[in-house]
Point group: C2
Chain length 279, copies 2
């Protein structure tokens, strides 16, 4: 099954333009054979909000808002699945969310669990415990950007049966990054794929927004941990495509399966200690 990640540059506040551009890219990817398309984090609004009010004015309800409606029409027309980052308004709360849309409409939503930097001033932390969605093309989960700094995210998805994790992201530079190496985010994704037997598809944005540069380098990683496509460039809008297989998970060796080899006896004891320290 061919899947695509769209590396694009949303412009802050220009929702109609951003959605139109995302539809163009998704259509191009589908014409090249993609059955599933992944867009960046906050693909419709841009990322660097100056105030919570600015974000609130741009956020939409899910699935009833106009952006999900537009993405859903394309998915219906092209028999496509799509994962995309969106600013979600739910009552008086805002979430940094991702939606999974299929040919029949919105399948599910993920709300970013781990908020980065000024996101904490705008968004409420996610309240949906790592949902895995059963679709005709496989067991799909979602994570967003800084969620990838928490190996817990991928581990819990693997334990819950996910085969593919789609990652809308807006990666920012990390300290110590050598110029000649791909972003540390790429390393984290490879490690997560390998240690959990997951295919992971990351769509990053590019550009500089209100002084904040982004990393690009979108990539699609096989369950062995090695890239199938990408990393894409640091600066250019582009589509990356990979042919993936979502076969049943199997062990890493004749006598070993990473999930069943976990020492849950010890982890639970130690997590218990941690809960006391960090309630």
């Amino acid at each position: 099954m061919l899947i695509a990640c769209i590396q694009m540059e949303p412009l802050i506040g220009e929702t109609a333009r951003n959605v139109a551009r995302s539809l163009d890219f998704a259509r191009q990817a589908a014409e090249r054979g993609a059955r599933l398309v992944v867009l960046p984090e906050l693909a419709n609004t841009g990322y660097v909000f100056e105030t919570r009010a600015e974000a609130e004015a741009l956020a939409e309800t899910v699935p009833s808002g106009p952006t999900v409606a537009a993405w859903s029409r394309l998915c219906e027309e092209l028999d496509l699945h799509l994962v995309a980052g969106i600013a979600e308004k739910a009552g008086d709360k805002l979430f940094n969310s991702a939606v999974l849309i299929g040919p029949g409409g919105c399948v599910g939503v993920y709300r970013k669990m781990h908020l980065w930097g000024d996101e904490k001033k705008v968004f409420t932390p996610g309240d949906l415990p790592f949902p895995v969605y059963d679709t005709p093309i496989g067991q799909i989960a979602m994570a967003i950007c800084y969620d990838g700094w928490f190996p817990e995210t991928y581990r819990l998805y693997a334990l819950n049966g996910a085969r593919l994790v789609c990652v809308p992201t807006n990666w920012v530079p990390m300290p110590g990054q050598p110029d000649d190496r791909s972003a540390m985010a790429n390393t984290l994704v490879m490690a997560a794929a390998h240690t959990n037997g997951l295919v992971i598809a990351c769509a990053d944005r590019v550009g500089v927004e209100r002084g904040q540069p982004f990393e690009g380098q979108s990539l699609i990683v096989d369950k062995t941990g090695w890239p199938l496509a990408g990393p894409a460039s640091r600066t250019n809008e582009e589509i990356i495509l990979a042919d993936i297989t979502l076969e049943p998970r199997k062990g890493i060796g004749a006598d070993n399966d990473v999930l069943s080899d976990r020492r849950t006896d010890i982890y639970a004891e130690m997590l218990g200690l941690d809960r006391t320290d960090n309630p």
Copy 2:
């Protein structure tokens, strides 16, 4: 502080020769300024035991056996710390262990938590819950080889205050490894260091033993996740050295610390589910 990893080739069953060779290498590293030296997994015995009886005949009590005594004498003489893999006999059990030795003798032991392949026929899984040892040179923990496939290992060490994790290892080739990339094990170590703010020092073995090839590529990784030394070659015995700083852990950004940003509320709920499934 300068530290060293010794990439060497133990020969199966030749304990006296292996220990003598490890002492030579450790002395060379100390002469080059190393205050701490890390040796590979099962550095005294070799790795591929044909039977449990073969392993039992080679295993020693800790700290009273002759190998720990020999390593301890060197540490006392050179005011050195040393971490090394050893086959440990404790009553009627065998453990794939690592010892931490200082100038005053044996400081502590770690027993491999996650056993790989035929190790399950020889060793008992570790029963010491991820100990962190407070030494004059810093908070030191140990992990062995396949333990690194479990992000839980490093996360629990970071939560318990470790600054440096020493990894005696016998890495074997993983499926899908491209010829032009460093071992996937290197990627796992970089990700673990970055997501936990840990310095990690891995001493691998080289050579082919009873048909089993090993990966070499020992490396020392900074808390940013980027290598300070190595990866070493795939095939040659060598010493790698790095100057490390074990300063107090700090956040990854102005508003973010990976450990305090963890969603322990959600993880605990989901680990609870897992304990029911995998008791």
